[in-house]
């Protein structure tokens, strides 16, 4: 099998596997995996910016929350149905990221991390400030009646799983397609050697802005879907924690691999889930595992796999 064949087999195979699991997973894990798939979509978006373009943002919770609130507020105040609400969420995330990106990209490195962190913090405080509409920390519930899409009730576990899989599948294949396009190759070139890319005639600022907007749109789609599928919109999702999560998942799963964000999200989710069954000090176990992984597989799970066996892994 040639490289493209292997790549398609692996990624489509993962989607097929997740589809099959819909029918065999016990209820508890069925719900977990649905949640993980939405969060992994968020991480896939994060990875486009961090893993492929080499820009470390500490403010992606802003875009996740923008998608979530863009969707939630459209339903709550405009009575929008799920699809327009979802699109509104993505649009809000994309527009916000274009503005934030245009400003934040005037900086690089550590300054970029701090500026994005500050923007996200400002976003979080803005949500609290307009508590009358956003319900602040308390958040608001999206009623079951508002989550019916073309007659399909998204609050039903089965439908929710399949909707999450649809989102995840789209994000996975879109990101795979994107990084194999010339524009994706330029993202990688910028990550590898920005000065060289510039002197090959590429407008690196424009490309970096494009990466920010694409990455944030994925995050916003994930945020909007999360709110829609799990029926809750709240300011917690705009906190710094939710900016750190995708970074952790991507680092664990394998920076700059298409499948890594999903592997990292599953791994982290079940690491916390299983260790909390054993002890109250579950974060200690999670912490030790993270340290060990960083020591022995610094490129993450899929990154290590790529280094040792699957050199073709995109």
């Amino acid at each position: 099998m040639n490289e493209t064949g292997k790549i398609i087999t692996l990624h489509v195979g993962l989607i097929a596997l997740l589809f099959a699991m819909n029918f065999i997973l016990p209820a508890y894990h069925h719900g977990n995996i649905a949640r993980v798939m939405v969060l992994a979509s968020y991480a896939i978006g994060y990875n486009i910016l961090f893993g492929y373009t080499g820009l470390l943002s500490l403010g992606h919770a802003l875009f996740f929350a923008a998608g979530m609130y863009g969707m939630g507020l459209a339903i709550r105040f405009l009575g929008a149905s799920p699809v327009p609400a979802l699109l509104a969420g993505i649009a809000v995330g994309a527009l916000l990221s274009a503005a934030v990106g245009a400003l934040a990209l005037r900086t690089t490195g550590v300054a970029f991390m701090i500026v994005t962190l500050m923007f996200a913090q400002a976003g979080y405080l803005t949500i609290l400030l307009f508590g009358e509409w956003t319900r602040g920390d308390e958040g608001f519930v999206i009623q079951q009646a508002e989550r019916i899409l073309w007659g399909i009730d998204l609050s039903d576990a089965n439908n929710r799983y399949l909707a999450a899989l649809l989102l995840f599948g789209c994000c996975l294949l879109l990101s795979l397609w994107l990084i194999r396009l010339p524009v994706g190759r330029v993202f990688v070139a910028i990550r590898e050697n920005e000065e060289r890319a510039k002197l090959l005639g590429y407008d690196v600022v424009r490309y970096k802005l494009a990466a920010v907007v694409v990455s944030a749109s994925f995050a916003a789609a994930a945020g909007a879907s999360y709110g829609l599928l799990f029926g809750y919109v709240g300011a917690t999702f705009a906190t710094v924690q939710y900016s750190i999560f995708p970074l952790l998942w991507v680092l664990l799963g394998g920076t700059g691999t298409i499948i890594g964000p999903f592997i990292g999200a599953v791994f982290m989710f079940y690491l916390i889930d299983l260790s909390s069954g054993v002890t109250n000090a579950y974060m200690l176990i999670a912490g030790i595992v993270l340290v060990l992984l960083t020591l022995f597989a610094p490129q993450g799970i899929m990154g290590e796999l790529r280094r040792r066996v699957w050199a073709w892994l995109p």
Binding site: R185, A189, G201
Partner: protein, 239 residues
């Protein structure tokens, strides 16, 4: 003298109190191989970096194809037909040799995969790296990385190719191949060569410009420069 492709008027750059480049007027005709030489610290790198747009001048004008490009960023100058190869090897070391050259070709050829592939093959053939296309660039020997830099320059099909110390660190046999390559290129592009290796300069250049203390000390054919007492003094450090 033919049509001028690149010129500067009063081009200057100071760093604090140091005048690195001092009001340089420079003309480069189309189709020439021009060498830019000078002792260490003469301002060669600063001058070239202002030509390509990596550092802004403190005063003066750069013109490319009769257009003032002084205010344009580097990537626009490259898009207009200038190419620059780095003094310190600067390839994408984690990417394959072919992908390095493809990145150079793709900006011009866009999504036409077949055209990009044939351009990659062609550029690598010319520098003799065609059999190493699949290798990771960072694994290449140093001399081969220098050649890869040049292939990346060629794949852009520039009208002006600026080579910053291209033979630095090359073995003698590689230098001989490099000279042959440059001679073949001259029908396609104008070449500005910043070079320390006098043997290369004397053999290749149509005209030599000598910089010293940020100013043009002399300009002429290799024979004229060779015989110029001021140049000899500058190089011996007594000037």
């Amino acid at each position: 003298m033919g049509e001028i492709i690149l010129s500067t008027r009063g081009l200057s750059r100071s760093f604090g109190g140091l005048q690195a480049v001092d009001a340089v007027d420079f003309n480069l005709p189309v189709g020439e191989i021009r060498a830019l030489i000078g002792p260490n610290g003469a301002g060669k790198s600063t001058f070239v970096n202002m030509l390509i747009g990596r550092i802004p001048p403190t005063a003066g004008v750069v013109k490319f194809k009769d257009q003032d490009i002084s205010a344009l960023p580097a990537h626009v100058r490259v898009a207009q037909g200038m190419a620059y190869t780095f003094q310190i090897t600067s390839v994408f070391s984690n990417l394959s040799v072919a992908e390095n050259v493809a990145l150079a070709a793709r900006r011009r050829l866009g999504r036409d995969k077949i055209a990009v592939q044939s351009e990659v093959k062609h550029a690598l053939d010319r520098v003799g790296l065609a059999d190493r296309m699949a290798q990771i660039a960072g694994d290449l020997a140093y001399g081969h990385q220098r050649l890869l830099e040049i292939a990346m320059g060629l794949a852009q099909k520039p009208q002006l190719l600026i080579l910053d110390e291209p033979t630095q660190g090359l073995a003698d046999s590689e230098v001989a191949e490099f000279k042959q390559l440059i001679r073949e290129l001259v029908s396609e592009t104008t070449i500005l060569l910043i070079e320390h290796n006098m043997n290369v300069v004397m053999e290749l250049a149509d005209t030599i410009t000598v910089l010293n203390f940020g100013k043009i000390l002399a300009e002429g054919t290799p024979a004229e420069i060779h015989a110029n007492p001021q140049v000899q003094a500058a190089y011996l450090g007594t000037g």
